[in-house]
């Protein structure tokens, strides 16, 4: 196998994810190639294996993730333009399937759905009984075209849901059954910064198959035995040295095109020591507290647990729903004001969690550089600008010390 170049060029400043995990060259595993029909057969093979195939598809002017039946459901010849609060699709002059940067959806919406039932409580004849939610077999998803950042986001959510003292079984069931056909990124968006977080554009781990789209087809790398079987079934042939070189070039060019290069060195410490920085107030004046950023973020995991009763009161359901740290209720405590009552404290919590406390909690930062929170912020707030402002004004304090509410 041809080892791909590191996405970081020598001499570039070290990023906060210092070491990039290089793919191991196994020597014997050939790189494959699929033309369009073979790729179609691959999708069919996944369906034949009982997977619900999830991939990018066009819905209402955006590329979302949804069930795809075959090639015709994938976006063809569509590119995307991204900016703070700006997203649009554009026609490309080719017929690439993966020619856009990721849309608002990520695997999170499937592995950790926005709302899910956890248990049912009933009291037949007054006796309380509890049932594990039995919504049948957990779905087995095959994700098609997931980019490197989103693959890393899954690995991060694994740490959240499976790496702690309590294992999240519903997540685990879906996660264990999932197949990942990842795509190395060839067309990053203008808000992407995965080269700085060390999470892309190459897929480095966690995939069954990783493809790179080039003219005429897909160059495919095998990640697991099942990935190999699926490629075999699709009739993927061995790739030529030229095809491999072209795929390598395509991703390297993508990496070079990513021009957002935030200085993330020591950013966690910078954020921790700037809890009282006036920048937070300035951003809060623009922030609508809509929670879009937390919803589109592929790693955000906070949720509410909600109980609802049936009309008769004989049955109750426990569900969980995505929650956002931007809402006031998030830190509600009965009989008092919320812990984070100000918009500034809530914005600070989100960014400090992503780049500082997340790392302390899970060993890696909570940001994979996908840029979604920038693109889908209606106020056009750019987290990289906020980080830069905090760094530039390191040590400035709010004069009225509004944040040192200390003791609520």
């Amino acid at each position: 196998m041809v080892p791909l170049a590191s996405c970081r060029k020598a001499g570039e400043p070290a990023t906060f994810l210092r070491e990039h995990r290089e793919r191991k060259s196994e020597g014997t595993e050939p790189v494959r190639f699929m033309d369009r029909p073979a790729f179609g057969r691959l999708l069919a093979e996944l369906a034949r294996r009982g997977y619900a195939v999830i991939g990018p598809t066009l819905r209402g002017g955006a590329i979302v993730l949804d069930h795809v039946e075959g090639l015709e459901d994938l976006p063809r010849g569509l590119g995307s333009r991204h900016g703070p609060g700006v997203y649009s699709l554009l026609r490309r002059d080719d017929d690439r399937l993966f020619g856009q940067a990721p849309g608002p959806d990520s695997a999170k919406r499937f592995l950790f759905p926005p709302r899910e039932r956890l248990a049912t409580v009933s009291r037949p004849g007054g006796r309380l009984t509890v049932d594990r939610a039995a919504d049948g077999e957990p779905p087995r998803y095959a994700f098609v075209g997931l980019r490197a950042c989103d693959l890393q986001a899954v690995l991060i959510q694994d740490r959240v849901f499976l790496g702690g003292p309590y294992r999240d079984e519903p997540y685990e069931a879906r996660r264990d059954g999932a197949f990942f056909l990842a795509a190395n990124c060839t067309d990053p968006g203008q808000t992407c910064f995965c080269t700085s977080t060390g999470t892309g554009p190459w897929c480095r781990a966690g995939f069954d198959v990783a493809v790179t789209e080039i003219d005429g087809g897909m160059v495919a790398e095998v990640g697991t035995a099942e990935g190999r079987e699926v490629l075999d079934a699709a009739g993927a042939r061995e790739a030529s040295p030229d095809e491999i070189a072209a795929s390598d070039r395509a991703v390297r060019q993508a990496a070079d095109r990513i021009d957002r290069r935030p200085d993330l060195r020591g950013i966690g410490e910078v954020l921790y020591r700037n809890a009282g920085n006036p920048v937070w107030d300035e951003i809060a004046e623009r922030c609508l507290a809509c929670g879009n950023c937390t919803a589109v973020c592929p790693t955000c995991f906070c949720h509410d647990v909600v109980d609802t009763a049936s009309i008769t009161g004989q049955e109750a359901e426990r569900s969980r729903e995505w929650a956002s740290c931007f809402s006031e209720e998030f830190t509600h405590v009965a009989g008092g004001s919320p812990i984070r009552a100000s918009g500034a404290s809530r914005y600070r919590q989100w960014l400090t969690h992503k780049f500082a406390s997340w790392r302390d909690q899970f060993g890696v930062p909570g940001c994979v550089g996908c840029g979604r929170c920038v693109t889908w912020c209606p106020a056009g707030i750019d987290i990289l600008e906020v980080l830069a402002a905090i760094r530039a004004r390191d040590g400035e304090r709010d004069h009225d010390e509004r944040h040192r509410t200390a003791v609520r």
Binding site: F16, R127, L162, P165, R167, H303, R320, G363
Partner: protein, 297 residues
């Protein structure tokens, strides 16, 4: 900075951690409801399943998640004697949906219980020295198991000093049993002092916030471990006062309250800086949390 990123899927731990999302929600029967103050009652519970009841153990300072079916779930500290885990007291102030719904239930009614959760009071660490227990208002409930534990292992500690504050005599928890309980404490050489903000005419004890009792408590900072529980502002004042008296912030332990939806480190609501209050706490050495509290995180 962060460890080198190794983003492959984590190997499952050799001993798989418990699965605990929503379940196991055990069924508990309310045996007795004891009114404590105008808005607070103690609910005595037993687990409905005899095997579960026999297995259940808890440490002083730990809490349960109590479910009123169809209404919701709340974090409530266990307030009874850890030597008798087969009957569990939870002392609850009715302030919102779940806690008021609980108030409508009575003996024989069944509720859901998950737990016990959280880091307990450092009872073993405190052995050999003095134990200073400071409780404000409802904060007496979470430290009550620590008082029981100290009474039952009285010879492991030197002095055991219990300082209790409340808004007024009618807000004093366990008041009904207090004279008996207070006598019980004194018999076991526990030093107890009480203070209320607003006394009645016949109130025989101290007046003022609970920290006013510190002067009379003859605290020896070098040999004391403090367990402080009450409203956050009271805990911060008390802890700062004890630091000024020469105690190390790491030997002053406080019990932090935050919104909790799951109790098992998954819902994200209880974060305090990098800490999850539900499982890194709720009991923390003051030194571990003071910066986060002051940053308003």
């Amino acid at each position: 900075m962060s460890a080198a990123i190794a983003m492959e899927r984590l190997e499952p731990a050799p001993e798989r951690p418990p699965a605990d999302v929503g379940l196991p929600l055990r069924v508990a029967t309310i045996r007795r409801v004891v009114p404590e103050t105008p808005d607070t009652s103690t609910y005595w519970l037993t687990l409905a399943d005899p095997a579960e009841r026999a297995r259940f153990r808890f440490e002083p300072g730990q809490f349960d998640m109590l479910t009123v079916p169809g209404v919701g779930e709340s974090a409530i500290s266990i307030s009874s004697d850890p030597a008798h885990p087969e009957r569990l007291a939870h002392t609850v102030r009715a302030v919102g949906r779940v806690t008021r719904a609980l108030g409508a239930l009575g003996s024989g009614d069944r509720i859901g219980l998950r737990g016990p959760f959280g880091r307990p009071w450092p009872m073993a660490e405190a052995e050999g020295g003095d134990l200073l227990i400071v409780a404000g208002g409802l904060g007496l409930a979470p430290v009550r198991p620590a008082i029981f534990r100290a009474m039952r292992a009285r010879d492991r500690y030197r002095r055991v000093v219990v300082l209790i504050g409340a808004r007024g005599p009618e807000h004093l928890l366990f008041g009904g049993e207090f004279d008996g309980w207070g006598q019980w404490m004194r018999d076991r050489e526990l030093e107890v002092a009480l203070s209320v903000d607003v006394p009645t005419d016949d109130w025989p004890y101290g007046v003022g916030v609970v920290t006013t009792l510190f002067d009379g408590a003859r605290i020896e900072p070098q040999r004391t471990t403090a367990l402080v529980c009450g409203p956050e502002i009271m805990m911060c004042f008390a802890a700062h006062d004890l630091v000024v008296r020469g105690m190390s912030p790491d030997r002053i332990h406080v019990c932090i309250e935050r919104n909790m939806q799951c109790g098992v480190r998954l819902c994200g609501h209880c974060q305090l800086g990098p800490l999850f209050v539900c499982s890194d706490g709720p009991v923390f050495p003051f030194g571990e949390v003071v910066d986060h509290l002051e940053a308003g995180r």
